[in-house]
């Protein structure tokens, strides 16, 4: 017995020493590491993992290389990859890669006094390395429609406006005063202040108005971006189920009115100087904003008209036998920051932000179940600083042999994930109830069938 104890003690000591040595090696000198990912998905419908994804983008960044890769899928269906745009770069030299997939192109103008630019199933991906800094971004739209004023019709109105405006400022000799007059009319002429008003400026001002868009609609769109700069690693993703902009970029670069439904944003940042990560999320069911004229004068911001349905949560409906029957996630945004992360980020920090506007999962445990998701965005960014000198190895604490029940037991515990709730070890009464209901229904159906048979005789 004594011999067994001795062998056990030696074995455990060897194991402890080996693990400490391994830990010491893990702390050896190494360069800075970082990584970032961003995923945007406007819509997803699937059954048992097979389905349709609309407006999807991904972007990845890795310090090894360094390398960056990104892709966009306006629509992704099984076995069909022709709509994918992808770009990837790697290495220390400056390089860039761009890919665009837009199979439908621009649809010809409509003969109703409007010009419509329609693009379907378009995705663009860009990746670049410049000065050793990698970046990648993708955007995709299932459908994008832009309605513009018909130039000829508007041209007449612009001419009248031009004539009227000329009369107003004809008496003014000071260009700055003319700009003030324009401001009083609600037109931004800040760029013109102090400049002589000539034909070129008129053309610039009214020419831009003449080609302005009336409406722009986007359906199933998303964007993903990752980039590294001298002080930060950034990742960001956004997705929109549907968005409508009225008179986009018309008032000092602002949309007069914009409506977004199923909008989701997630971003994560790793600070290379402090080795800390952070993130933010912004899931919005409906968001309406309006341009603020004061912004033209350098004051104020856009009016937030509606940013409502501030719900954040998940609803689970569970059945004892088949697990989760229904899981509904609505307006949920979470950011998890993990310090002292494992693997290549050991000793560093990582932030992961996930934002979901709406997600319904039916029987998720059953081969993936059925999923409908609108407005999903997630972003992860993390890194670990370079280690120049390996830290001194501490003297190992002796580990007691476990060959007998310890008189003064150790408190060393295995590294496992913490519990979220105490485990479920009951809750099966519903099973019996369900069985009785089924039995009752069987009896009722049987009786009904028999009654029908009796009546037919």
């Amino acid at each position: 017995m004594k011999r067994i104890r001795t062998i056990g003690a030696v074995g455990v000591s060897l194991l402890a020493t080996t693990s400490l040595l391994a830990a010491g090696q893990a702390q050896a000198a190494r360069p800075e590491t970082y990584q970032a990912t961003a995923v945007g998905q406007a819509m997803e419908m699937s059954i048992a993992g097979v389905g349709v994804k609309i407006g999807g983008t991904t972007a990845n960044l890795d310090s090894v290389g360094p390398k960056a890769a990104t892709s966009g899928d306006a629509v992704k269906v099984p076995l069909l990859n022709i709509l994918k745009s992808a770009a990837a770069v790697e290495g220390a030299k400056d390089v860039s890669d761009t890919s665009k997939q837009c199979p439908t192109g621009e649809i010809p103008p409509l003969p109703v006094g409007l010009v419509a630019e329609v693009s379907l199933l378009c995705a663009t991906s860009k990746a670049a390395i410049k000065g050793g800094m990698a970046s990648a971004s993708s955007s995709s739209d299932a459908a994008e429609i832009e309605l513009q004023y018909e130039s000829l019709l508007l041209g007449k109105a612009v001419e009248k406006l031009k004539g009227l405006f000329s009369k107003v400022i004809a008496k003014e000799t000071d260009a700055a005063a003319a700009a003030d007059t324009a401001k009083s009319m609600g037109i931004n002429l800040n760029p013109l202040a102090g400049k002589p008003i000539n034909d070129a400026l008129w053309e610039k001002l009214f020419g831009e108005i003449a080609t302005i868009s009336l409406l722009s609609l986007e359906l199933g769109s998303s964007e993903s971006m990752v980039e590294v700069s001298s002080d930060k690693i950034k990742s960001a993703a956004s997705s929109d189920g549907f968005s409508l902009n009225v008179l986009p970029n018309s008032l000092c670069g602002q949309d007069i009115l914009s409506l977004q439904m199923g909008h989701s944003e997630a971003s994560a940042t790793y600070d290379r100087k402090t080795a800390k990560s952070s993130g933010r999320t912004n899931p919005e069911a409906v968001h309406i904003t309006a341009a603020n004229p004061a912004n033209c004068l350098g004051e104020g911001k856009r009016f937030e008209i509606l940013d409502f349905i501030e719900v954040d949560g998940t609803l689970h409906i569970k059945l004892p036998i088949i697990g989760t029957l229904l899981k509904i996630t609505f307006m949920k945004g979470t950011t998890v920051v993990t310090d002292e992360g494992p693997g290549k980020l050991a000793g560093g920090s990582e932030a992961k932000s996930v934002s979901d506007v709406f997600k319904i999962e039916v029987l998720p445990g059953l081969a993936g179940g059925a999923v409908l998701s609108i407005g999903h965005a997630e972003a992860t960014a993390g890194g670990a600083p370079a280690i120049v000198d390996p830290p001194a190895t501490t003297v190992p604490v002796s580990v007691e042999s476990l060959t007998t029940v310890p008189a003064t037991p150790t408190t060393v515990m295995p590294v496992v994930a913490a519990e979220a709730v105490l485990p479920r070890t009951g809750g099966d009464a519903a099973v019996a109830f369900g069985g009785l209901v089924l039995l009752g229904l069987a009896y009722g159906a049987r009786r009904l069938a028999r009654k029908g048979r009796t009546a037919s005789v």
Partner: protein
């Protein structure tokens, strides 16, 4: 057209209007009667399946316990225990509570799968018989329901844990009490050697958790 006032359809226990319409529909269509008969058989089979589910889980647990019993005595699990590398779902210790006739092998882990064995050890807590808050969860209903009568324990009742390396005993030191499922403080680390048992409360529901606390008494010499 037959309607609910059809004298043929009227009986002493005259059916509700909807049922009468259904009977009338079935009277004329043999295929519908056959389909309904078939459906009722399916419902009956479903009912048998659902009502038999608890018995099925007991069967599963019983077979699993046989395997775990052998595993607990194996040199492999002894070595894994010594190395503190017992995998989730593998035998960890045997728990004996004579007062409520419990004698089951406890597995490592409290996942849904692991708990099919009946009882599982919280992996974040110390190993059995060590200093700290050793915590074990067990089924109250289904899967052998080892902790079915946990509420009947009272202060002074003895609990024995038999590990691959040795045994120790605990004594219940307070009456069982109820907490919310989210109250993880019951498995928080302690400075002294204690044992915490957890199960669902009330029976058949997972709304709350029943907790039993016991204090370490010492090592038990095996015969």
């Amino acid at each position: 057209m037959t309607n609910i006032s059809d004298p043929e359809a009227s009986t002493t226990d005259s059916p509700a209007p909807g049922v009468g319409r259904l009977v009338s529909f079935l009277r004329k269509r043999a295929w519908a009667r056959r389909a309904l008969s078939g459906f009722s058989v399916l419902l009956l089979l479903g009912a048998i399946g659902v009502l038999g589910y608890p018995f099925y889980t007991n069967l599963v647990q019983n077979r699993l316990q046989d395997t775990l019993d052998n595993q607990l005595a194996s040199p492999e699990i002894k070595q894994a225990y010594r190395d503190r590398k017992v995998k989730t779902g593998d035998s960890l210790t045997r728990i004996k509570i004579p007062a409520i006739d419990v004698d089951v092998v406890v597995v490592e882990g409290t996942t849904e799968s692991a708990l099919k064995a009946g009882a599982g050890h919280f992996p974040t807590t110390p190993l059995p018989c060590e200093i700290g808050n050793v915590s074990i969860a067990g089924h109250r209903t289904t899967y052998g329901r080892p902790f079915h009568n946990l509420d009947r324990l009272k202060p002074g009742d003895e609990i024995t844990l038999e590990t691959p390396l040795g045994s120790c005993s605990y004594k219940v030191d307070r009456d069982p009490f109820v907490v919310a499922p989210t109250d993880l403080s019951v498995i928080d680390p302690t400075d002294t050697a204690t044992l915490t048992l957890s199960t669902c409360e009330p029976k058949g529901s997972a709304a709350r958790r029943l907790i039993v606390k016991a204090a370490f008494q010492g090592a038990v010499t095996q015969a």
